[in-house]
Amino acid sequence: MSYHPSVIGLDGLAALIEALSGDGFRVLGPTVRDDAIVYDDIAGVDDLPAGWTDEQDGGRYRLKRRDDKALFGYAVGPHAWKRFLHPPLLRLWRAEPDAAGMTLTAAAEPDERFAFFGVRSCELHAIAIQDKVFLQGPYVDPHYKARREGVFLVAVNCGTAGGTCFCASMNTGPKATAGFDLALTEFPGEFLVEPGSDAGAALLARLPQRAATAADIERARAVSERTAASMGRHMQADGVHDLLLDNLEHKRWDDVAARCLSCGNCTQVCPTCFCTAVSDVNDLSGATERTRRWDSCFSVDFSYIHGGSVRPSPRSRYRQWMTHKLASWEDQFGTSGCVGCGRCITWCPVGIDITEEVRAIRGE
């Protein structure tokens, strides 16, 4: 099925958000909070970061004014959509002692459906990767499944590459190619809208619009091309799987370990990292509640078994992170675990740069 693109104005965009809420979706999109662009509930176009952009580099993120009113004129911020599909903190179940021993009750899953508004191509890839992890293995994560089902995805083709972006190297952007319901390309005051699903096409049909011309399509292509040409970072990704696994004792691991603080920021901001830990909380009524939270392979306890941690040194933990992202992930899930979003570079307090580390191990 091929769909026909249209062009909508700001009114069309407002109508899109309204239609989604009207259809019962909880609409989440980019908005400015605490000097960063984060993902949160949006009520309308006014909540979007109009006229903002970001400056990103290793260990550095700063919002800046643009000289236009662009709504999507920035790259990705500290949040990833993962926080809604795979929440940072989740109640799993509650156990209460009773005459029979104990009764365990699973926590109810929310019945809300999400619409993600302004999903970047790298993020669509990240969602597809987490779909593989949580839905396509021998075991399905019921919590992810409950949240993921029925998500409406409005993608945005990036018009500005961030200082730490390298999706072009990873073949994950900057143009969304699949996995969305609608994809927007921003022109000043207008948007080219391409449906990617029947649901998207049906929704588009309800918006004020005009048919896209060949010139509109060409303009959108040029936007993506320009963005691809202005990536802040580059990584030579071919052969990186073998490169890393053949160099598990490379001296560079010592070098990066000397800089790494083991803070785990990179895993927290990464849109594909999926690790979690469970903990039990006993409350005053005598009941126990089990919760699950994001965990990080950078913590010493992560690999603890009786007698000690399997990865006690920062060197081995950094190596776990990077080899997992760029190598073992392929063996496990048939895809890289990195989509080139650059968040781990930007949010690393000491600016460790995965692309630079790969170059160093390549001996460049």
């Binding site: 992890v133 690790c275 830990a277 469970v278």
Partner: protein
């Protein structure tokens, strides 16, 4: 993924600090599993840990776990008496490949608590005794007071169709059995080395030593089956804790054919 309540029907003190539970599900449902699989065992308000299933899989009405008290959870569990209720999630993991070794001589190599994950397999092998060649169990412990599953060992030693090579690290003078490392017990086994299949349940360092000894006798690494141990939280391949390189021990293991994971053993802190 919510634990199912089981009642402790019986507690057996195997050796100091090691106890075996016989568990019955509260709803009376049988617990179906294959030898080599494990459960996540949860003590109310304390915590949840991975534990191998050590019983006879032909008796699914009784779930058997043998646990060594080493830390907070296993120590708390040691205080539980018959009648207490614990939570069980499982069975998880890949079982021992019993059907793949039909027709061969079998040698089991383990020490102390390592017999727990092998015990169910040995039971099953004995149920299907005619399917296999010689059966030799090489079992080592620190001393003569650390020998687990004594009733089983007595029964096994009395059988004419299997050999038990027990070895201890030291014994009081006058002890009539073998003293030394498990390696000596392996060397004493009389099996057809060029076709025998070996099952090794030891720590990583000692697994490598056993594999080297076996290799010296002619057991190629594709005929050695081992288990790995890693931190586990979900047991279903989703929490990431049990990863070693490409493998998730909870779902791809804990049982592996040695030649398929040998490289993982040689990388430190991997």
């Amino acid at each position: 993924m919510v634990p199912v309540p089981f009642r402790i029907a019986k507690v057996i003190r195997e050796i100091p600090g090691v106890y075996t539970w016989h568990l019955k599900s509260l709803d009376g449902k049988p617990f179906v599993y294959r030898p080599g699989q494990f459960n996540m065992v949860y003590q109310f308000g304390v915590g949840e840990i991975p534990v191998s299933i050590s019983g006879d899989c032909r008796e699914p009405d009784t779930l058997v776990h043998t646990i060594r008290a080493v830390g907070p959870v296993t120590n708390a569990m040691q205080q539980l008496r018959a009648g207490a209720v614990v939570g069980i999630r499982g069975p998880f993991g890949r079982p021992w490949p019993i059907d793949e070794v039909v027709g061969s001589d079998l040698i089991f190599v383990t020490s102390t608590i390592g017999l727990a994950p092998l015990r169910g397999l040995i039971h099953e092998v004995l149920h299907r005794r005619e399917d296999f060649g010689k059966v030799v169990v090489c079992y080592g412990t620190r001393g003569i007071d650390d020998i687990m599953y004594e009733a089983d060992l007595h029964r096994w030693r009395a059988r004419f169709d299997m050999h038990v090579h027990l070895t201890v690290h030291s014994a009081p003078s006058g002890y009539r059995g073998r003293v030394g490392g498990v390696v000596a017990a392996i060397r004493a086994a009389q099996v057809d080395w060029p076709s025998a299949q070996a099952f090794v349940c030891r720590s990583e360092t000692l697994t490598r030593q056993a594999v080297d000894t076996l290799a010296g006798l002619g057991v190629t690494k594709d005929r050695v089956w081992v288990t790995l141990e890693r931190n586990m939280q979900c047991a279903i391949g989703l929490c990431g804790h049990c990863q070693i390189g490409p493998t998730f021990v909870c779902k791809d293991g804990p049982v592996y054919r040695y030649d398929q994971i040998e490289p993982l053993y040689s990388v430190r802190e991997f």
